[in-house]
């Protein structure tokens, strides 16, 4: 780690709990690098998480950090942001945390277009509880609760976010780190609800259950399976099967929730 980045970590709390080969450290590092590039005051940042492997990240980061209940990070974050709109609020969440138990909060935060950046650590599995299928586990994949293969259809998180009203939506992978950092920077600076899905790897549970080989092999799979939005446009549905489309899907300037609420205050007080 660059010496200049150390101030962003609670060094005394390392080593982290993630397994060898886990992609989550790369995403956490990307978040830190994005913040460093943006030169935002550490105390003006609040990082909120739910429950799961991803949600342990804030504990290692030296900001105002809140490790909440399962799926509820966005609900807590909404309270923080509305109470103090000066804070940059970033939610770090996992695929299960965000799209299963927290799915309702995700779509409603997007609908409100509240200025919160949500970064989804998508490893396609519940890692903390050792390998159950999530709403992002691909159909046909194996998990400890899908011993005969998963029959659930998985979400396309970026489509979901956009349909629900998010005003910045992007996806990268833990192989495509420079792009990931740039997207996180843009998401943080975006006024409104921004979503960055970071495709991660879980060699311990998803990898083992699906016989994907070593962490290096899984990283190579991310590289091989990633296609840009532009390339994807020219591909058929069949050709896109198993691919990860990366890039910026959507960006829109739209009224932001806390700013709209400030107008309500003025209206109620009769000052405008």
């Amino acid at each position: 780690m660059r010496k200049s980045l150390e101030k962003y970590y609670r060094i005394e709390r390392l080593p982290h709990i993630w397994c060898p080969g886990c992609g989550h450290g790369i995403i956490t590092g990307a978040v830190v690098r994005a913040i460093d590039n943006l030169k935002i005051d550490q105390d003006k940042i609040c990082i909120v998480s739910g429950i799961g492997c991803s949600s342990r990240a804030p504990g290692y980061l030296n900001f105002n950090t809140l490790h909440t209940t399962h799926g509820r990070a966005l609900a807590f974050a909404t309270g923080i942001k509305l109470a103090n709109p000066d804070l940059k609020v970033i939610v770090l969440t996992g695929d299960g945390d965000c799209t299963a138990i927290g799915g309702n909060h995700f779509i409603h935060s997007a609908r409100r277009n509240i200025d919160i950046t949500t970064i989804i650590f998508n490893n396609n599995i519940y890692g903390m509880t050792s390998g159950q299928y999530s709403p992002m586990t691909p159909k046909g994949a194996y998990a400890t609760t899908a011993p005969y293969g998963n029959i659930d259809r998985n979400f396309d998180l970026c489509k979901l976010a956009q349909a629900a009203g998010a005003t910045y939506v992007a996806r990268a992978t833990v192989y495509h780190v420079p792009q990931l950092i740039k997207m996180i920077e843009k998401a943080i600076m975006h006024k409104g609800f921004s979503v960055v899905e970071a495709a991660s790897i879980c060699p311990t549970y998803f990898g083992r259950k699906n016989k994907l080989g070593s962490p290096v092999k899984m990283m190579e799979m991310l590289k091989d399976n990633a296609v840009t939005i532009k390339a994807a446009e020219k591909m058929s549905k069949e050709e896109l099967e198993g691919k990860i489309v990366i890039g910026e899907f959507y960006e829109e300037v739209a009224p932001e929730y806390t700013e709209e609420y400030m107008k309500i205050i003025k209206k109620a007080q009769g000052v405008d």
Partner: protein
């Protein structure tokens, strides 16, 4: 308290919001549910006028989460609900207990279980208020009987939550929430308001968010964004806020959480006695039930029946003192509650066999009437 305002006809739910704003509430998150909805409606109207924030969240769980988040960001926060919503909030209420985030939860009780009787009164959440969230935890639950008292108790709920860094539950019921009474509210400038204790950075080298620096069991609380970044987790944590599974850290944290409430029980517990000095029978009640009991006891005293009452203003922690200090003349305790019999078990435990403890219960969505109290007292005294 100086009374400067004119008498007004006010609903209990309205008095709750009035009290909350005077106590310093500047954030409300809620979800519509009968019979508490007026609290959200009035908060939506009044909060922006004082620069506060109101948000209707997507569900009850989210409301509780937003309330905790807003409190951490420095605003005094409240939510209101009823039985089904209260159940949904429980996980995050436990989160607020463990992370010591001040907040107020109003439960305007209705008949249950499940959807039950949405528009009718009950006192069936006495035990849910105490033990609704999982794990060992203390909780403060206070219960008003009059509209004017709703105002005072809402202020008190905020004050207790700020003072002890704990969620406080204001346990109302449909009757108290929807009843309109003539009230005279105090001049807001005369109302005592307590704010959370902040860390004094001139006295400490490093801020540990869960360090009992003052020895009172209540760590000073910094708000997010005020210059001292720190970590908050619902995991068992050490004084720095870092997760821990150490048996010592765990036992110490849980003990401190309990002690900060139980060591201050005399400050927290409030109850009212009426005619207990020479009573043979004492009726214990709370909330709207206590109104019927008060009337019944006064009527019975005119007939020279040796009956008194205790009105619990604090339900949890349970005021054992109220039972222990009863005179020897008291042979019978009647516990009147609009449920199948919840608080009675705690009264029995508190009495330790010293009294004949009898329940007066109604769970039909109707109030316990003064006549029913009178009949029960007569029956008990006849059998005595």
């Amino acid at each position: 308290m100086k009374m400067t305002n004119k008498p007004v006809l006010m609903q209990g739910n309205e008095a709750c919001v009035e009290g909350a704003i005077v106590a310093g509430m500047r954030f409300y998150a809620g979800y519509p549910i009968t019979p508490s909805t007026e609290i959200a409606e009035i908060a939506a109207e009044k909060l922006p006028k004082v620069g506060g924030k109101f948000i209707q969240m997507e569900d009850e769980i989210a409301s509780m989460g937003a309330v905790i988040g807003a409190s951490l960001a420095g605003l005094k926060s409240m939510t209101a609900t009823s039985g089904p919503g209260f159940s949904l909030k429980q996980e995050n209420i436990g989160y607020a207990c463990l992370t010591e985030v001040p907040c107020v939860i109003v439960n305007v009780q209705r008949g249950g279980p499940s959807t039950g009787l949405p528009t009718l009164p009950a006192q069936g959440d006495v035990m849910q208020a105490r033990w609704g969230t999982h794990g060992d935890h203390p909780i403060i639950v206070i219960s008003p009987s009059y509209v004017r008292e709703v105002y005072d108790m809402t202020v008190r709920a905020f004050n207790l939550s700020e003072k002890y860094r704990t969620p406080v539950i204001l346990l109302m019921d449909e009757v108290i929430g929807h009843m309109r009474e003539k009230v005279v509210l105090p001049d807001p400038s005369t109302v005592k308001v307590v704010d959370r204790k902040k860390p004094d950075l001139s006295k400490i080298a490093k801020y540990n968010p869960y360090e009992d620096v003052d020895g009172d069991g209540i760590p000073p609380m910094a708000n997010f964004g005020e210059g001292i970044p720190y970590h908050v987790t619902g995991l068992i944590h050490d004084i720095t806020g870092a997760p821990s599974t150490s048996p010592e850290v765990t036992a110490k944290l849980i003990s401190r959480l309990m002690k900060k409430i139980y060591d201050n029980i005399d400050d927290i517990v409030e109850y009212e006695n009426l005619f207990t000095e020479d009573a043979d029978a004492v009726v214990i009640s709370f909330g709207s039930t206590a109104r019927s009991v008060a009337r019944a006891v006064k009527i019975l005293r005119k007939e020279s029946k040796k009956v008194g009452m205790i009105r619990l203003k604090t339900i949890w922690p349970f005021p054992h003192k109220a039972i222990n200090e009863l005179p020897k003349s008291v042979k019978n305790i009647i516990v009147a509650e609009m449920n199948y019999g919840q608080l009675i078990e705690t009264v029995e435990a508190s009495s330790k066999g010293r009294h004949n403890v009898i329940g007066l219960n109604k769970f039909s969505g109707e109030l316990i009437s003064p006549d029913e109290v009178i009949d029960k007292v007569r029956e008990v005294l006849k059998n005595a």
